[in-house]
């Protein structure tokens, strides 16, 4: 048994596995990418593209969950670069992110690496080593991004309270 996905024969088992993965991780992944990229279009495109690629690759993907998360963040990073939408300075971007204002403004103050690390570790719950695999970095580098990102967010929260 097989199903045709754009000319590629994917076993039903693999297809069902990828769909099950989408149903379990899709929302969380989409929100994580939204927080990282600040753009729902980028989030939707990256998530859809990664899952579509996973479907096409079928059994070649040994660990679909890890692969999809990694592919999604790489695609999103590439999209951001291509669209020249990476938030460089404070208060730019995130106006149309659909995120609550306080969260969007806070994330906009972080560097892309800090955002990815904070979102994947603190929001999604990935251990530092897995965050490093997803964003193509080292555990120690992710630790640094987390440290600086947390520090900046804490300061912003304090300023907001004041």
């Amino acid at each position: 048994m097989g199903m045709d996905v754009r000319g590629v024969v994917v076993t039903e088992r693999v297809g069902q596995g990828i769909e099950a993965l989408y149903r379990s991780d899709g929302d969380r992944l989409w929100r994580a990418v939204l927080m990282y990229a600040g753009d729902p279009e980028v989030a939707s495109d990256a998530v859809a593209e990664a899952f579509a690629q996973a479907l096409r690759r079928g059994d070649a993907v040994r660990d679909p969950r890890r692969w999809v998360w990694r592919a999604t963040f790489r695609i999103a990073a590439g999209e951001l670069k291509e669209r020249r939408r990476v938030v460089v300075s404070a208060d730019e971007g995130y106006e149309h992110s659909e995120l609550p204002l306080q969260l969007g403004m806070a994330l906009a103050k972080l560097s892309p690496h800090q955002r990815a690390a904070v979102v994947l570790h603190h929001y999604v719950g990935y251990p530092v080593r897995d965050v490093a695999r997803i964003i193509g970095s080292t555990a120690s580098a992710v630790g640094v991004h987390l440290y600086r990102g947390r520090r900046r967010l804490r300061r912003l929260l304090e300023e907001g309270d004041g």
Binding site: R6, Y22, M35, V47, E49, V86, V88, A90, E98, Y123
Partner: protein, 400 residues
Amino acid sequence: MADLDRLLRQADRVRTPDLWSDIERREPRQPGPAVVPRVAAAVVALTMAAAGFAVAAVAFLGPERKMAEQRTTTPLDPTVTAAIDIGQFPSEIAAGYGAVWVTVNQADPAERWYVARIDPATTEVTDEIDVTEVHDVAVGAGALWVTGRDRELGPAVFRIDPTSRTVSAIVPLHCGRCHADQIVADDRRVWLTASVDYPESGQVIQIDASSNTVTTRTTLPGDPRDLVLGEGSVWVYSLTHFTEQSVAGGTIYRLDPRTAELVATLLEGRVPPAAGINGPPVLAAGFGALWTSVAPGRPIALGSDRTAIVAIDAATNEISGETVPLGTLFFPFSVEGGGVWFRDGDADAEPVISRIDPTTRTIEDSFGVEGTVLDGVIDPETGTMWLTTYEGPVIRVDLR
């Protein structure tokens, strides 16, 4: 942490689209991460490791042969003799007044910032001095000086009495929402970098140690980070060149400590950016020169084999002598003990600690350290080296 969690959980309120039908119909357009069979990956890894070893051997044997012929320094036998757990995130380190002082951020379960005092004789932590927020520590003018933030006064420098081990004064910086970063001190004055209007400009702020007041502010382009005192000047490293996504390079500014005026702009945009907690050190002053590194191109290609250690002659402001190819980043942290001590490696890689002979420019006495070294100091009173590692222990290294 609870506040951070609450902040991030706001994202759960955002409605998500159902993309599955799009996924099923979609024609994939981009290559994702490569799926490499494990055997093939192992072969590639072994090949790369072998090539790396060959390159490393060539790079190492060259200077080693030269060292044997021309060495002017006394050979050392660096040995790690202690690893001291002092808190979750030890960061910056200084030595003086009979102790080693380390900034620590305890992030979990509750936020806490403090300066830990280590007794070098026993390697035990004898005191923890709480400060609202700590960024860097320096010793000089009879005190410890700590950059940080006070809840009421905002960005500030905390003066700590090394005898009573308490905060004896707080110097408000009055620089808005600036971020007070690195700090140095001599016997009369304290200097620090402050990011004021990132990434457009920042300040170097001078404090008079006798009155605990800010006496000068020098505005510099970019985001001033590291600074050192030495060879009659204050040398400042500022991030000045940016790409759309990151920092592309930095510039060195030389200040006259008497007037706090800018007297030279050096290596404009050519110094690789520091990346790491609080910015690792990128400058060292000693042996008649300022020691840093340069890399060609903008943005600078980190890891380029054209990265090189350079010495700027303090008398001429020109690069002097032989440049030393390094290939990785250069983080100098001490000029004690007859050479310029530095760690190399990428910003967050497990490093190698080495010393460069200021006369022959050979790299010598290298040794590896587990963990990510953030900062280092050689205690002039004991001649021992102390290193902080990211989320790891403080390491003592006996050099002889």
